[in-house]
C-alpha cells in the first residue's frame, strides 16, 4: 500500500523521507521543520513509514504503525493524534540502528566559542531540558538526544531534531519561550505529556558547524546540589552503554571513544532546579573547558 503523503527532512547530516497514510502528521512535520535546511537531493539516508493496519483502521480509531529501513519488532502503535511522536520515534530508531558516519552518544549538546558541552544520562536526568534552556541563554543548541562524534577528527556534529520536552519540562520552557516555537501538546503518550520545541533559527542555520568537545556532564535532577569527579574507566563504560553504535564502528569507535575520554574533562552534577544547574555548569565550564 503506497503512502499518499510524503515529506523530506534534513536534521544535521542525516536526511529522512517520511511517508504517511495520513496527511496530518506530514502537515505538522512540514510546519515544525519549516526553518530547517532542506535536503540537497531526492536521495534520503533513511525512509520512515507511518502506516495504517488496514484500510478500515485508516479511518476508524486510526493507529499509526511505525516502519522504515530499520525497525524493531514489538514496537507498539500509537494513536493518530500522536503521529508526530511516532515520526520522531521512527527517525530516532533509524539513527540509533543505522547511522555509521559518526559515533553516536545518547547525550545532549550545546556549543559556546567553538567548544561543545555534552550532557549524558538516563531518562529523567534532565539532559534534554538543560540543553533547551542553555540554547536560549547564550549557547548554540546542537542536539538533545544524539551527540555525533566524528571518528577521524573527534569533533561533535549537530543533530538538532525537535526538542522533546516531557511533563514538567514543558511548563518550564513555556514560561520562557514564545508559543510559535512549540508543536502541539500531546497528552497520554507512553512517556507522559510531550510537547516539541523548535530549536532557534541561529542554531538551525549553524547546524552543519561542528564543535570541539570540551566538557562532559552527567546530570542528575532532583538531588541536592553536588559536583563529583568520575574515574576514566567509569566514564568509558558509561559512554559505551550510552552509545548505540560503538560496537558496530569497530576500531574507529574504539579510537574515537578512548580519545574522547582521554581529552574531555567530566563531572557528575546533582541539581534541584534549572537555575542551579546553569550556575554549576557555568562554574565548571570556566574551570575546565
Amino acid at each position: 500500500m503506497g503512502q499518499a503523503y510524503i515529506t523530506n527532512l534534513r536534521v544535521g547530516p542525516a536526511t529522512f523521507r517520511i511517508a504517511s497514510d495520513w496527511q496530518k502528521p506530514i502537515a505538522q512535520l512540514n510546519s515544525l521543520y519549516e526553518n530547517y535546511p532542506k535536503p540537497d537531493s531526492e536521495f534520503a539516508d533513511f525512509t520512515v513509514r507511518l502506516e495504517s493496519q488496514s484500510v478500515w483502521r485508516k479511518y476508524f480509531r486510526p493507529t499509526v504503525h511505525i516502519s522504515g529501513d530499520f525497525w524493531l519488532p514489538d514496537a507498539a502503535p500509537l494513536p493518530l493524534s500522536q503521529g508526530l511522536l511516532a515520526a520522531e520515534m521512527a527517525m530516532n530508531l533509524q539513527m540509533a540502528l543505522g547511522w555509521r558516519r559518526h559515533l553516536l552518544l545518547h547525550a545532549s549538546t550545546v556549543e559556546k566559542d567553538g567548544k561543545a558541552l555534552l550532557m549524558t544520562g538516563l531518562s529523567g536526568s534532565g539532559k534534554s531540558t538543560l540543553s533547551a534552556m542553555l540554547g536560549e541563554k547564550g549557547w548554540r543548541f546542537m542536539g538533545d538526544e544524539f551527540a555525533l562524534i566524528c571518528p577521524q577528527t573527534g569533533l561533535a556534529y549537530s543533530f538538532p531534531r525537535l526538542i522533546s520536552l516531557k511533563n514538567e519540562a514543558i511548563t518550564t520552557m513555556e514560561r520562557i519561550m514564545p508559543e510559535d516555537r512549540f508543536g502541539p501538546l500531546l497528552e497520554d503518550t507512553p512517556k507522559g505529556r510531550i510537547r516539541h520545541l523548535v530549536p532557534s533559527l541561529e542554531s538551525l542555520e549553524a547546524s552543519n558547524v561542528p564543535a570541539k568537545p570540551a566538557m562532559l556532564i552527567f546530570p542528575r535532577f532532583g538531588y541536592d546540589k553536588a559536583v563529583r569527579e568520575i574515574g576514566k574507566s567509569e566514564i568509558f563504560v558509561r559512554l559505551t552503554q550510552a552509545s548505540t553504535n560503538y560496537v558496530a564502528l569497530g576500531e574507529a569507535g574504539f579510537r574515537a571513544l578512548t580519545s574522547f575520554v582521554d581529552n574531555v574533562p567530566a563531572r557528575a552534577i546533582d541539581y534541584q532546579s534549572g537555575d542551579e544547574a546553569e550556575i554549576l555548569i557555568d562554574q565548571l565550564w570556566a574551570e575546565l573547558a
Binding site: 544520562g121 538516563l122 552527567f218 542528575r220 553536588a226 563529583r228 569527579e229 568520575i230 574515574g231 574507566s233 567509569e234 563504560v237 558509561r238 559505551t240 552503554q241 560503538y246 560496537v247 558496530a248 557528575a268
Partner: protein, 136 residues
C-alpha cells in the same frame, strides 16, 4: 626458588638509589578480570570482581555511614566513622551473600554493604558494583 634475599622486598637498590616496584593486585583464581563490551546493554563476559569499591567514595566528605547505608552527619548515634577503606568486588560480593567485610565487625560490615547497595551513577565504585550484578 633461588637464594636471593632482595627478591622478596619491595625495594631494589641500584647505585644506591632505592626504586620501588609497582604494587600489583593479583586477585583470586575465581575472580574474572575481564568485562567485554557487547552491543546489548546488559551483557558482559564476566563481572570484574577484581575491581575496587572505596567505602566511602569521593562524594562523601566527612559524613558517617548509618546502618542502612545512608550518609549521615558525623557523630550521629549508631553510625560508623568511615575508615576510608577500599574493598575488592570479590570481598563485597561475599559480604552481600552474608559474610563480613574483612577487618570489620558484623554491624559495620552490614552498614558498608548497604552503603554499596545505594551507590548511584557517578559515585566511585558504582561501575564495579553494577558489574557484580550482571550474570556471567
Amino acid at each position: 626458588m633461588t637464594d636471593q634475599p632482595a627478591k622478596n622486598t619491595s625495594q631494589k637498590e641500584a647505585n644506591g638509589i632505592v626504586t620501588r616496584r609497582r604494587a600489583l593486585m593479583m586477585g583470586a583464581v575465581g575472580a574474572s578480570a575481564v568485562v567485554s563490551i557487547k552491543p546489548a546493554l546488559a551483557q558482559t563476559a564476566g563481572s570484574v570482581l577484581n575491581c575496587e569499591i572505596p567505602i566511602p567514595g569521593n562524594h562523601v566528605s566527612g559524613g558517617y555511614i548509618a546502618p542502612d547505608g545512608k550518609i549521615v552527619p558525623p557523630d550521629t548515634p549508631g553510625a560508623f566513622a568511615p575508615q576510608g577503606r577500599t574493598f575488592t568486588g570479590e570481598e563485597v560480593k561475599r559480604a552481600i551473600r552474608g559474610g563480613s567485610l574483612p577487618g570489620t565487625s558484623h554491624e559495620e560490615s552490614q552498614a558498608y554493604v548497604n552503603y554499596v547497595r545505594r551507590l548511584q551513577h557517578g559515585q566511585s565504585g558504582f561501575t564495579c558494583y553494577a558489574s557484580l550484578q550482571m550474570p556471567r
